[in-house]
């Protein structure tokens, strides 16, 4: 009977959904999202808005961001001012819709920002955990690697790397994975050094827990907020780096990003013609996303270092 199957799936669905939601909620709680801090809340809201824009870009953007547009009388719709001919933010000097580019730019920004942040946080945390917990030769080698990473100027390194590889937004993520784990790694390491002497770690060791279990079951959960602090800063770094690389002309010309828009505007003399509507919006979007990361990280700092709050 169709009605019966409908009720059984309906019954099964909510419970699975409940399990999913409660699982998700447990993860959210374990990373200690700083929900009580007003700044952190603003940051989270900014992320949510950009996330929704990125997901529904197809519905929001009125035009294809790379399409060269024409008016009804078949004139090239180039250098239209905001509002003119129905273009919300005007058009580029090649007749592309600026608002649509802005909307699609959120996709690459979030894609790069979130992957780079995840990569940096994961590598840095694992290096810090291993280095801090095991010490000795492993620690020495990992920390010398960190020294080298600190000696490499980051942006020049990305430029050199981007020049040799196929133009792609992933170059930035790759370069960050190679270099920027250093900060997270060092901070996590020093935190682990103090955690490993705590009584509960000692207790776990005495009761026969393996090293692996102690590191990942007992120590790792305590440094997760720290990883997220550095992760939320890394989102901003990734977006800023991608923008700089695109601006310098080493970005992926196939991908519309805010950095690409700024490079396009700069190269098309938008500065001297006073086309503020062209180069202000992408910059403002970058600032909003990056500052959202800072606000969230501030919330984490207050959880991690309650002394600051006084």
């Amino acid at each position: 009977m169709p009605s019966e199957t409908a009720t059984t799936t309906q019954a099964a669905y909510p419970s699975r959904l409940n399990a999913f939601v409660s699982g998700l909620w447990r993860i959210v709680r374990s990373i200690h999202l700083p929900l009580s801090d007003p700044f952190a809340m603003i940051g989270i809201i900014i992320y949510l808005v950009f996330f929704l824009v990125a997901v529904f870009a197809n519905q929001i953007a009125p035009h294809d961001p790379t399409e060269i547009l024409f008016t009804e009388s078949y004139d090239l719709a180039a250098d239209r001012l905001p509002g003119e001919d129905g273009f919300v933010l005007g058009t580029t000097s090649l007749g592309r819709d600026i608002f649509s580019q802005l909307v699609y730019g959120s996709q690459s920004a979030l894609l790069i920002g979130l992957t780079a942040a995840a990569v940096v946080a994961v590598i840095g945390t694992i290096v810090g955990l291993i280095s801090g917990y095991f010490g000795g030769v492993v620690d020495m080698m990992l920390m010398r690697l960190a020294d080298i990473a600190f000696g490499i100027p980051f942006l020049p390194f990305v430029i050199v790397l981007a020049a040799f590889m196929e133009p792609s937004i992933w170059n930035v993520v790759f370069a960050m994975a190679l270099i920027l784990w250093r900060d997270t790694g060092r901070v996590v390491r020093s935190q682990v050094l103090s955690l490993r002497t705590r009584a509960y770690v000692e207790a776990a060791r005495v009761s026969g827990s393996s090293n692996l279990k102690i590191v990942f079951r007992h120590i790792a959960p305590n440094i997760l907020p720290l990883s997220f602090l550095y992760g939320s800063i890394a989102i901003g770094w990734a977006i800023l780096t991608e923008a700089s690389i695109s601006f310098l002309g080493f970005g992926d010309p196939e991908t519309i990003s805010w950095g690409y828009m700024l490079q396009d505007a700069y190269a098309s003399q938008a500065l001297s013609t006073g086309a503020y509507y062209w180069f202000i919006p992408p910059g403002v979007c970058i600032v909003l996303v990056v500052v959202a990361g800072f606000f969230i990280s501030r919330g984490y700092e207050e959880i991690l270092f309650p002394k600051l709050k006084e």
């Binding site: 000696g151 100027p153 020049p156 800023l240 910059g283 600032v287």
Partner: protein, 325 residues
């Protein structure tokens, strides 16, 4: 560990990092696809000429031998010859280095002046409306892409208002007998102002936030309470007692900031067509001028590494309570 021993071990670490960075750079430039001479060799060159060229750059030898030659040359300060300028790379980058340093130093000094005074002031005004409104603003300046800030300043103050020149280091056609004469000319400073302001706005957040949090720490210490009990004025306490002690870590961060500034100069120099090391690196990479790109990168890296070392040493020197493990 004694001071001398620490200094020596820190110096050894410096040499190690320099060697590692040079090696990584060698590998990046040699293991990448395509002949490094592709940009140099004219299609009209005969096979024989190409072979001679390859031999001249040592590219016909095995990779490990090339590596040893590369290290040997580096030790002698020989960075090779630029494909584009047909001029020794060392000469070229050393010519550009002062331009970058002047821009970096001036903007750093500006940033630290704003930052130190602003940070101390905000700590004094703890909990006030001014503090509440300023901190998010400062964080916002840290979140701006430097090149975008430069673009906005350029559009407003140069193109729209016409107060400052639109780029470069001096008015086209002007001649100066020496570098000193150039750096002291009014024309140079008019060109310097906007890029330096861009970097200063971007960078003032670091000393400001640091100064503020240090001040808050210091203000809760016993000797400040003592000064209050003695009945000293707020001004005397903040400036004579608290600020002096809060300045130590800020001074240390100066060296690290110079290192970061060198990296940030890459984009700002490009926006303002400032003839410095960063812009040269971008141009060299775009033009596949590998020796020049390699030389510019190495020089930037050397400054960064030296500044890291300086920061470490300053830290121990200024605050003897810090012991290095």
């Amino acid at each position: 560990m004694s001071g001398v021993k620490r200094f020596v071990s820190r110096l050894l670490q410096l040499v190690f990092v320099l060697w590692a960075v040079a090696t990584i750079l060698f590998l990046i430039f040699r293991l990448m696809p395509g002949s490094p001479l592709a940009a140099y060799i004219d299609p009209t060159f005969t096979e024989e000429q190409q072979r001679i060229l390859m031999a001249r750059f040592g590219l016909d030898r095995p990779l490990f031998e090339q590596y040893l030659i590369y290290l040997w040359n580096l030790l002698h300060g020989d960075l090779g010859e630029s494909f584009f300028y047909r001029q020794p790379v060392g000469e070229r980058v050393l010519m550009l280095l002062p331009n970058t340093l002047v821009l970096s130093l001036f903007s750093i000094i500006l940033a630290y002046m704003i930052g130190v005074v602003g940070g101390a002031y905000l700590a004094w005004k703890r909990g006030s409306f001014v503090e509440g409104a300023t901190i998010p603003f400062v964080l916002t300046t840290r979140a701006m892409p430097e090149f975008w800030l430069g673009m906005v300043l350029l559009a407003v103050f140069s193109f729209s208002l016409g107060w400052f020149p639109a780029g470069g280091m001096r008015t086209a056609g002007s001649e100066y007998p020496s570098l000193l004469a150039l750096y002291t000319s009014g024309d140079f400073w008019r060109h310097l102002f906007l890029p330096a302001l861009t970097l200063a706005i971007y960078f003032h957040g670091l000393p400001l936030l640091l100064m503020r949090s240090n001040m808050l720490d210091v203000m809760s210490e016993d000797f400040v309470t003592m000064a209050r009990i003695k009945g000293l004025s707020n001004w005397t306490i903040v400036v004579r007692h608290a600020a002096r002690n809060a300045l130590l870590p800020v001074a240390t961060s100066l060296a690290i900031a110079i290192g970061y500034q060198m990296q940030g100069s890459v984009v700002v120099e490009t926006v303002f067509s400032w003839p410095g090391l960063g812009r040269e690196l971008v141009r060299a990479v775009s033009a596949s001028d590998y020796p020049l790109a390699q030389g510019a990168f190495l020089l930037i890296a050397v400054v960064v590494i030296l500044m890291n070392l300086l920061a470490d040493l300053l830290y121990g020197l200024l605050d003897p309570r810090i012991s290095h493990a």
